[in-house]
């Protein structure tokens, strides 16, 4: 199964007419929308649903998708994570539960619809501002690289008052300012 087919099949289940779920596609795909495209070895989704609904959703994936039996506690996000292997490929799917955090709620409220021509369909992704806010909280090396890319590519189009408001609440404003200062003013 190709990467395209894997993402397509998951979106099929998430957006099934009879049981559409509230979700956002995060990770490298969302970063590519707002920053630099990069390859990834997994497709990441966050669901705003109880754990039992996630289990049920995963059970509707085709047989090639093998869900690890035990959901994991995700230390970085503070929520639950399900890892799904796909037969015949090293590409994985990871599904996270939306947290109770106020910013997570705002992120879903502001999510946007994005067309993906190669899949001939649309998907929900977070805004550039919400990606930056969340990645500033994690601040792993790859998060810093992604933030840097989004700041450079989106430049002055970003809603900085919104980002700053959340960063002040999260204690990440100093890191945001440091990253903004590192970008040449003429970019």
């Amino acid at each position: 199964m190709t990467v395209y087919e894997v993402v397509h099949r998951v979106l099929d289940v998430l957006e099934a007419d009879e049981r559409p779920l509230d979700y956002i596609m995060v990770g490298a795909m969302a970063v590519a929308r707002w920053g630099f495209p990069r390859s990834t070895s997994d497709a990441d989704f966050v669901l705003a649903a109880p754990g039992a609904v996630v289990d049920e959703m995963l059970s509707r994936l085709p047989g090639e998708f093998q869900v690890e039996e035990q959901a994991r506690m995700e230390l970085f996000t503070g929520t639950m994570r399900w890892v799904v292997d796909v037969k015949g490929t090293a590409f994985k799917v990871e599904v996270f539960l939306q947290g109770n955090d106020p910013h997570h709620q705002a992120e879903f409220a502001r999510r946007c619809r994005q067309r993906i021509p190669v899949l001939n369909r649309e998907a929900w992704i977070p805004t550039a501002e919400d990606l930056i806010i969340q990645k500033l909280r994690w601040a792993r090396p790859k998060d810093i690289q992604d933030i840097d890319a989004i700041l450079r590519v989106q430049s002055s189009t970003l809603d900085f008052p919104y980002i700053e408001k959340w960063c002040d609440q999260h204690g990440t404003r100093a890191l945001l300012e440091e990253l903004r200062r590192s970008i040449p003013p003429d970019l």
Partner: protein, 73 residues
């Protein structure tokens, strides 16, 4: 500052401008294409052109964060 820093900055600036010129749809497609090429590569096959682009981007990424590649002797 490394003597290569101006070159790194210039390469990075060009990469930013190229990325900005792409549509969001093109960027997402490229991310999927690169992931597929990466996967195919790890299985010992795949589209040679995509693999070439993936290597170029990876090398550009390496230069950005670690400086220019060192020639292998």
């Amino acid at each position: 500052m490394s003597e290569f820093q101006p070159l790194i900055d210039q390469l990075f600036r060009e990469e930013v401008l190229r990325t900005r010129a792409m549509s969001p749809e093109e960027r997402m497609q490229l991310a999927l294409d690169l992931s597929e090429a990466n996967l195919a590569w790890s299985h010992g096959n795949g589209d040679p052109e995509l693999i070439r682009r993936m290597r170029l981007l990876r090398d550009a990424d390496d230069r950005r964060y670690y400086g220019p590649p060192v020639p292998r002797l």
